[in-house]
């Protein structure tokens, strides 16, 4: 470290010191590993799954914005429907169908729950993502304080259709999907916001009052 200024050497010396290890926290890693299935190498039959997983995993923060867009478009083209469908505040949804454009249907209990959960001035927003191969999808945004665990999507089919309906207040919202807790994905069907502090691209949604 010689040749640097004293403040720099002091700082790096401090930062390089080992961090106190909590044996319990470290042991938890192997505890979790023991609970999981054994790993195995990919087989020929896994080709389709691997490709589908690639479609999802290709959209990471580590690729260029252009590549992100291209990957997202591939998913849209290969999927049934991707996007978000809004209803007017307190608009009745006959038969539990929430979408004016699609056929997304929720059960009666869920429809009643949503109707009660929606406050005056809020709209019901249906977040939809096609993510084959994903084990967990959540939507994160300013409306849930970017809490990765607050708004999970439910897998609707084996084809990898994930949805959740969320009451949101009028205004401009930024949001993204988080796939498997790791892959940050803007909504392929929505406008993009400028990159955030973490060099990530989010989507923008405007809800009229």
């Amino acid at each position: 470290m010689s040749g640097n200024e004293p403040w720099f050497d002091d700082l790096i010396g401090e930062l390089k010191k080992p961090v106190t290890e909590n044996a319990r926290a470290k042991a938890k890693i192997m505890e979790k590993v023991r609970e999981m299935p054994s790993r195995r190498p990919a087989r020929r039959g896994d080709t389709l799954l691997t490709f589908l997983e690639w479609l999802v995993r290709g959209r990471t923060v580590t690729v260029s914005p252009l590549a992100v867009t291209v990957c997202a478009l591939i998913v849209v083209a290969g999927a049934i429907a991707v996007g978000r469908l809004m209803t007017r505040p307190h608009e009745p949804f006959p038969g539990g169908a929430l979408s004016k454009y699609g056929t997304h249907v929720v059960g009666r209990d869920e429809a009643v729950r949503l109707a009660h959960a929606t406050k005056p001035g809020e709209s019901l927003v249906n977040f939809v993502l096609i993510a084959p191969g994903a084990s967990r999808v959540t939507v994160i945004g300013d409306f849930n304080n970017w809490d990765a665990g607050a708004t999970p999507l439910q897998q609707e089919s084996e084809s990898g259709l994930w949805t959740v309906i969320v009451p949101l207040p009028a205004g401009r919202h930024e949001y993204a999907f988080l796939v498997d807790g790791e892959w940050w994905l803007p909504d392929p069907s929505a406008p993009r916001a400028p990159k955030d502090d973490f060099d990530r691209v989010n989507s923008i949604m405007l809800i009229e009052g």
Binding site: F8, V33, W146, F198
Partner: protein, 176 residues
């Protein structure tokens, strides 16, 4: 045993072989996560997540890259996600006009507290680049692989981080 032998054993069904990789890389991974997140608890949780994720995807690991670089790629992403979800914007706004070096004990060695606070004032992408470069001793090419950012962008982040830290930790920039 080496990394490749351990990975092959794990893929072959020997879960316990993964503990060899944990033992080998835990300390360095934890140090990065704690320095990056400025929290022992968050650092431990994020390091754990990264190792578990590495295990889950180990069968996709190819020996083209070093295991450590691959693990760090996961860890960097986990730290970003953790920081974004924890308190968005918390680190994006530097504290107002605060110069840590304005303390009177100019001649004293830098205090650990000051260093930690100075690091916390960097925007996350600069802190990330600074730590990878000078604490983890990565080359810019390794950093590019781990972060997904261009080498030129990383050099700029490191330079700005260093300038900012110097300003915060020395008298430079004081108006008096």
């Amino acid at each position: 045993m080496n990394d490749i032998e351990a990975i092959q054993a794990v893929i072959g069904g020997d879960k316990e072989a993964f503990s060899w990789l944990v033992d080998r890389y835990y300390a360095r991974s934890l140090r990065f996560a704690v320095r990056m997140l400025q929290s022992q608890e968050d650092g431990e949780e994020t390091t754990q997540d990264a190792f578990v994720r590495a295990y889950q995807t180990l069968d996709r690991y190819e020996h083209r890259d070093r295991f450590e670089a691959w693990l760090f790629k996961i860890l960097v992403n986990r730290c970003r996600t953790k920081a974004a979800g924890r308190n968005r914007g918390r680190w994006s706004e530097p504290l107002a006009e605060e110069t840590l070096a304005s303390r009177n004990e100019m001649a004293d060695p830098l205090l650990k507290r000051d260093m930690s606070r100075a690091l916390a004032q960097l925007v996350p992408e600069q802190r990330e680049a600074f730590i990878l470069k000078f604490v983890e001793d990565m080359t810019y090419e390794e950093m590019a692989d781990v972060t997904g950012a261009d080498v030129s962008a990383l050099k700029m982040r490191v330079m700005r981080a260093r300038e900012q830290l110097k300003k915060l930790l020395t008298r430079e920039g004081d108006t008096e």
